[in-house]
């Protein structure tokens, strides 16, 4: 390969992908002392609610929800032996979560969970969602919902991704003591720009703005025993800010995710990214794999860049954490679904007619969402003969076939646990 103008980077492992799976893969690799390069475009994490789902719904067509996610996983594996969870030991899922959650805690983004029981939390649409853990800043919301406490939800003029009134109206039968107030965010009476949670969260990093917010919220509290707000409690110090609001407002406060680009997702993204950089993971942001080659010693040679090759990476192993369509791990033309980098075989319905159902919300889900890479027990994608396509190419996360994370609510669990297994498999195979 002639890549004379590009810089060459040598590493043991390259992680392709910057979503939850890519972050988790690079994280586990770095923790194990593996020299790692991470490439990829900004992942779907920026849209994430901040909830870390493990397992909720199975079978999806029956909408059966599991209070105990581990029992849900057992039932799922029994019925769908091809689901990626079937290749992950349960103790490894626990170990993977423990490693991630203790890191997040140390990094100032603690999470709240109950080990063997899913939590229930409200979504911005006003539905209840079962999930495995939520940011600590949402924990009071879990309790308030559980006890149906008299509770105030605060919405903000101009923040169109969040309607407190909608949640209150939608939940009114289940949570009659829920009430809404709509206020102006400090110093925004006169402006009407594109208003996002991110801008508000940045603003709340300043104590002056927090003071004004507290003044604006307090008169509405009345009999409320908890106050919920859209997820705007700062970008970097959400714990401290949340504690300050709670103390000054006088009742427990909590965050609710917003639709669209969400602050809890951005916090996860940022927290992982700064940790990985401290750990020496070389990040090549907004980059793609443009060329792929193999040396006789089994090393991969990747040409990486945005539009032209800027780096040549010589790497022992690769974890493909490139996600599905949104992450650009998969792409589709009119005829078939393809894997974007190695053109690996993709398990999929026979033609486009079978990709999606007529009804968007069909309880069975869309077959295209179960398309993806098939793997062996070491998380290596298979070639058309059913053997590992490469000795040290691994795949993890949503690119894997036989799962529908959107309907099963297992996205984060899938990302974290398969990243964990893929890194361990690399270590094992690489001596």
């Amino acid at each position: 390969m002639a890549m004379s103008t590009s810089k060459t980077i040598e590493c043991q492992l390259t992680v392709i992908g910057r979503g939850m799976t890519g972050m988790a893969s690079a994280f586990f690799a770095a923790n194990r002392g593996i020299s790692t390069v991470q490439i990829g475009i900004t992942g779907g994490t920026i849209f994430a609610s901040g909830f870390l789902d493990l397992m909720d719904v199975h079978p999806i067509e029956e909408k059966k929800s599991w209070r105990d996610p581990w029992a849900g996983i057992d039932a799922l594996i029994k019925d769908s032996p091809n689901h990626p969870y079937a290749r992950v030991k349960k103790k490894n899922i626990r170990a993977a979560f423990d490693e991630v959650l203790s890191f997040l805690k140390e990094a100032g983004l603690p999470y709240y969970r109950r080990e063997d029981r899913n939590l229930e939390m409200i979504t911005p649409l006003g539905k209840i969602k079962r999930t495995y853990c939520v940011p600590q800043t949402m924990a009071n919301g879990v309790r308030a919902l559980e006890e149906k406490q008299p509770c105030l939800l605060v919405g903000f003029r101009g923040l169109n991704d969040f309607s407190a009134r909608q949640i209150v109206a939608t939940m009114q039968d289940k949570w009659p003591d829920l009430r809404a107030a709509r206020i102006s965010f400090p110093d925004t009476d006169h402006v009407s720009e594109i208003f996002t949670g991110e801008i508000m969260a940045q603003a709340l990093e300043l104590s002056d703005n927090r003071k004004k917010l507290i003044q604006a919220v307090s008169p509405h509290v009345k009999n409320a025993q908890a106050v919920g707000m859209p997820a705007i409690f700062g970008m970097h110090r959400s714990q401290e800010i949340s504690a300050e609001l709670e103390e000054k407002i006088g009742v427990p406060v909590f965050e609710i995710p917003t639709m669209s680009v969400s602050v809890p997702g951005l916090r996860l993204n940022d927290t992982f990214a700064s940790h990985l950089s401290l750990k020496g993971v070389r990040l090549l942001p907004q980059s793609r794999v443009l060329k792929v080659g193999c040396e006789s010693n089994g090393r991969f040679v990747l040409g990486v860049g945005n539009k032209t090759t800027e780096y040549t990476i010589r790497t022992k192993g690769i974890i493909l954490a490139s996600g599905r369509f949104w992450g650009r791990g998969l792409y589709a033309d009119r005829r078939s679904i393809r894997e974007a980098i190695f053109d690996l075989p993709v398990y999929q319905p026979s033609d486009r007619e079978g990709w999606h159902r007529q009804n968007f919300l069909d309880p069975r889900g869309h077959p295209a969402n179960r398309a993806g890479l098939e793997i062996d027990d070491s998380f290596r994608p298979l070639d058309s003969s059913g053997r590992p396509a490469f000795e040290t190419l691994f795949a993890a996360g949503s690119i894997l076939a036989h799962q529908d994370w959107m309907r099963m609510k297992c996205g984060s669990g899938l990302a974290i646990s398969t990243a964990y297994e893929a890194v361990n498999a690399f270590l094992k195979l690489n001596g």
Partner: protein, 526 residues
């Protein structure tokens, strides 16, 4: 008000001079025509404005050239009517001009004969150099063998019908959306009253009318059957594709006998490629199929190669109401003309039906029907729709893509935050649309908002704006309990029928984001 309302045993009674069934292009056009002649009407519509073929066509104002080989009468009507509409409804029309082009392999005899056929029907046509044609429209294929310029234009069918009904309403017409005619009361050779049922609420209305006009489009047969009259209709489904960008300045027609995927029509900021012609037996579940989409793309690509790689944001399908004639095998050759059935031979003297017809000639159809109604009512006022301009009001304003962004820029310093970033729609636009709906529809939902604005029409197909408009409606106190979620589900599912057949490339990415947000993160499906 001539429409007297009085409650009797929970059923509402109304009286009117003319009951019009159907609020498509013809029904709304007829309402305006009659209103301008001082006649009182009630328009009963089982869905909303343009719910049928009037809202799911190409938006093409035909010069007539397309029909020169098959139908001289329709050709002439198209020519005359497009001239009238260009003069009197210019705000609904973009005078793009059109091209007829042939590529290698097309029937050269047909190509050679085209100018003669046009001049025989007095259709202005101008032969173009291949090089000039490709300079005018760089998207055209290198394999062009002939090109002619004609006077085609584009028309916004929603704006048109919304303005027609709006003026009619101002002149006293009553519009009853979501009211389906479920029966008639006959007395001798007259229909005395029609029974309407509101399909949302189940409420019933009895409308006593002197004259009844059946302008129900593809559903005229169903309506006529309620008085025991059988009308033989053919149902021809046509599917169309919307690209995310405008690919040509002009309407581009394939110069051959009318066939599949042979017209590309600019629609403001997008282009619309169609159509197919698929005979269907039932009017339930009319949606574009993957097979049709592939056919349209393959055919269109011959003429405009970029259609193979361009991004499509949705597909949609409409049903052409065609009048059945003996021995017709090919739906493309069935007349696109209309008939006005006076039903005298069916023993009724105050009932008429307008089946068939085209968007381009809607005004003419309405005029003919109005003439018959007036003659029967003994009213001698002349038709004014060919001399009076169609007013430009708030009602049809927001169907136009350029107005949303302009409004938003104008109100930067006031309270108008964006609810839709694809189409730049601010809260004040939605407020204005909601006001119109409250006047016209009675049921405030996303579908009605989308019909009167650009909500749900951009590349994200409702992903951002769907949830935000619902949230905004809750904030405005317009929604209660979980009705907003029901509405959101219906809206997303309605958009989906148009997305499903074009989910590849960029659009499958968009669809995945939509499902991730609404299902993955928010549990809307549960």
């Amino acid at each position: 008000m001539l429409c007297l309302m009085h409650a009797k045993q929970g059923i509402e009674y109304m009286e009117t001079q003319v009951l019009i069934i159907g609020a498509g292009a013809t029904g709304t056009g007829l309402a305006r025509d009659l209103a301008l002649r001082g006649i009182q009407c009630i328009v009963a519509e089982k869905g909303d404005i343009n719910a049928g073929a009037s809202g799911s066509n190409h938006g093409l104002l035909h010069s007539g050239a397309r029909y020169v080989s098959t139908d001289p009468t329709v050709t002439k009507e198209c020519r005359e009517e497009s001239d009238i509409l260009k003069r009197f409804a210019p705000h609904c029309i973009e005078n793009t001009g059109g091209l007829f082009v042939a590529v290698e392999g097309d029937d050269e005899k047909y190509v050679a004969n085209f100018p003669n056929l046009c001049s025989k029907c007095s259709i202005p046509v101008r032969s173009l150099d291949i090089k000039d044609a490709r300079e005018l429209e760089p998207a055209l294929s290198k394999n062009l063998i002939a090109a002619y310029a004609v006077d085609d234009a584009t028309i916004d069918p929603f704006k048109l019908s919304l303005e027609n009904i709006f003026q009619a309403q101002q002149l006293g017409t009553t519009l009853l959306c979501h009211n389906k005619v479920v029966g008639f009361k006959k007395s001798g050779n007259r229909i005395q009253a029609a029974y309407l049922r509101n399909i949302k609420t189940g409420d019933e209305i009895i409308v006593e009318a002197e004259q009844v006009v059946n302008a129900a489009g593809v559903w005229v047969g169903e309506v006529a059957a309620l008085v025991g009259i059988s009308i033989d209709m053919l149902y021809s489904k046509g599917s169309l594709l919307v690209t995310d960008n405008r690919l040509t300045k002009r309407v581009i027609n394939r110069l051959r006998r009318p066939s599949d995927g042979d017209i590309l029509v600019p629609g403001n900021t997008v282009s619309i490629l169609g159509t197919t012609s698929v005979r269907i037996e039932s009017l339930n579940e009319v949606h574009p199929t993957i097979e049709e989409v592939d056919l349209i793309v393959n055919e269109g690509t011959t003429m405009i190669p970029v259609l193979e790689t361009t991004r499509y944001i949705r597909a949609y399908a409409g049903v052409r109401p065609l009048i059945s004639a003996q021995g017709e095998i090919d739906d493309r050759s069935v007349s696109r003309g209309f008939a006005l059935l006076d039903h005298v031979q069916n023993g009724l003297e105050n009932f008429a039906t307008i089946p068939g017809g085209k968007l381009t000639t809607y005004r003419f159809m309405a005029e003919k029907a109005a003439d018959l109604v007036c003659q029967r009512l003994g009213v001698s006022s002349p038709c004014l729709t060919k001399t009076e301009p169609l007013p430009f009001t708030q009602a049809g304003r927001w169907t136009e893509p350029s107005l949303g962004p302009r409004q938003w820029l104008d109100e930067k310093n006031t309270d108008g935050s964006l609810l839709c970033e694809c189409e730049m729609l601010s809260t004040s636009v939605i407020d204005s649309v909601i006001k119109t709906i409250q006047k016209q529809n009675g049921t405030l939902d996303l579908k009605a908002i989308g019909l009167r604005s650009r909500v749900g029409k951009g590349p994200c197909q409702g992903t951002s704006c769907g949830g935000r408009v619902i949230g905004y409606m809750y904030e405005q106190g317009l929604l209660d309990s979980d009705l907003g979620l029901t509405d959101l589900r219906e809206f997303l599912c309605e958009r989906w029928t148009g997305e499903r057949p074009i989910l590849w490339g960029e659009q499958i990415i968009q669809a995945e984001l939509k499902e991730a947000l609404y299902c993955g993160l928010s549990n809307l499906e549960l």
